[in-house]
Amino acid sequence: MPYTLPSVTDVLAGLTNRFGSLETSLNRGQTRVVVPEPLSFDVLAWLKDQGFDLLIDVTCVDYLEYKAAKHRYGLVYLLASTATNQRLTLRVFVDDPDPTVKSAVPLWEAANWLEREVWDLFGIRFTGHPDLRRLVMPEEFTAHPLRKDYPLQGRGERHNFPVITRDHS
């Protein structure tokens, strides 16, 4: 018998009370809530007060080639509660030319590196982030490699190094 997650209907009702009606969906027991970008920080802060104290992950999906997608980037906040084991997924959609979201670092220290990674690989700016530098790519790198318009093999950066031969060393 597969395990099903605890229901979050009371939290959703509270969310609707507090922020008006939000688009929600359910897939195999996982509840997703779509939050408009200006509200994202307030919703996260409210949810943290409601007991979702563990920020599991912050990531992003680039919907450039996705069928019937309305927005370019969809941020994903995965929240969990250590007391009740509920889980909740928050989606925040942003678009080019300047995708920007308010940073969650004031709420969770865990968001610090996760948001840096999203900035590095997707180029989404987090306002209010204390230290928004690239996390995994070199500082000099200019592209954001996980965007769908960036090729898998890159644009030749990986070959751009001096060659040391036997005579040189």
Binding site: M1, P2, Y3, L5, N27, R28, Q30, R32, D53, L54, L55, I56, D57, T59, V61, D62, E65, Y66, K67, V76, L78, T82, N85, T89, W108, E109, A110, N112, W113, L114, E117, L121, P130, D131, R133, R134, L135, V136, M137, P138, E139, E140, P145, L146, L152
Partner: protein, 410 residues
Amino acid sequence: MSIATAEFGTSGPEAGARSEDYLWTLNFGPQHPATHTTLRIVLKLDGERVVDALPEMGYLHSGFEKLGEHLTFNQYVTVTDRMNYISPMANNVAWHHAVEALLGIELTPRCASIRTIIAELARISDHLLSNGAVGLDTGAFTFFLYAFYQREVIYDIFETLCGARFTNSYTRVGGVSQDFTPLVIEKIGGFLKTFPKTLDDMERLLTRNRIFVDRTKGVGVLTKEEAINRGATGPVARASGVTRDLRKDEPYLAYGDFDFQICCASAGDCYARYLIRMQEMRESLKIVAQAIENLPAGPVNVGIDQRTALPTKQQVYSTIEGTISHFELSMSNRGFEVPHEESYAAIEAPNGELGFYIVGDGSENAYRARCRPPSVLHFALFPHLIRGHTLSDVVAVLGSLNIIAAELDR
């Protein structure tokens, strides 16, 4: 890029003071024996005391997530092997657990038990190496050799099971690549008999060793609130008193059927993390023993009608459904049906919560395969844990966090 002095004052409350000119900067890594693999820390020292640390990663970033968008669900398992390479089996299980959550496949009881067994064996081998490395870094070389010898025994079991000793690529969508043979069960039984004795020996070597205790007790203390706020999971969080373990909290696979306990401590220091790992190995042994004892009979892969796992040769040759299913799965333009959906599923990997956020777009490749790596959040803890301690504590803290660069950078 140049290996230049990194800028301070960008992170941490203590940074940024002006009168710190007498402090000196030490570059640690990216090629250093105690980093085990490739990570870099720039330390700011006052004599021998660490004032601040600036961790840097990315020295092994190989584009795993980008690659996940170009490989099919079954092919990508080879890449997950190389993610946390001290317990590849646990990564295999995590990946296909997430894929099956997306596709809505329910495993056969035998498969669930088999995956539980190999995930627990992987946990043992992971904890052996990470504790062995803590011992190695704090000067206990014999302990490391004991640990590595037992890892070789587990390697041998895996090699008998699937032909590869180290990068196994064992799971498949809806099943596993090889069923357990009597020889495998016999070897696991032998391991269950001999390993507790070695574990006792190892505990006698290190647990009350004065030098080891002095170097790890009270070092790198993480409180419960900090652990939750900074997203720690797994042994690191449990050593700080967070009673979260997905095996109990969200019983996946066959964990709901077995009797075992969650190991927790409240001290939150390096010594507590070491003890948690030692104790978890014993609990894993209990799980493996129960699972081997009650291994369900029956097929190991899901049925033909699910159209995800390859049918056996006998089914292909003797039934029409088997032939059709084999054909559908082998043709490049067919394959199985993937919904236009997104889902996240995680398992309790040896290092913490290892999950995958997968976006399906109808094709056999994931549209996006995000890995939630525990190591990133644990490495982000590092400056917080090391401030105020001495330079020699750096290796103890790093070892006890068990940071694996390939999982860190992906």
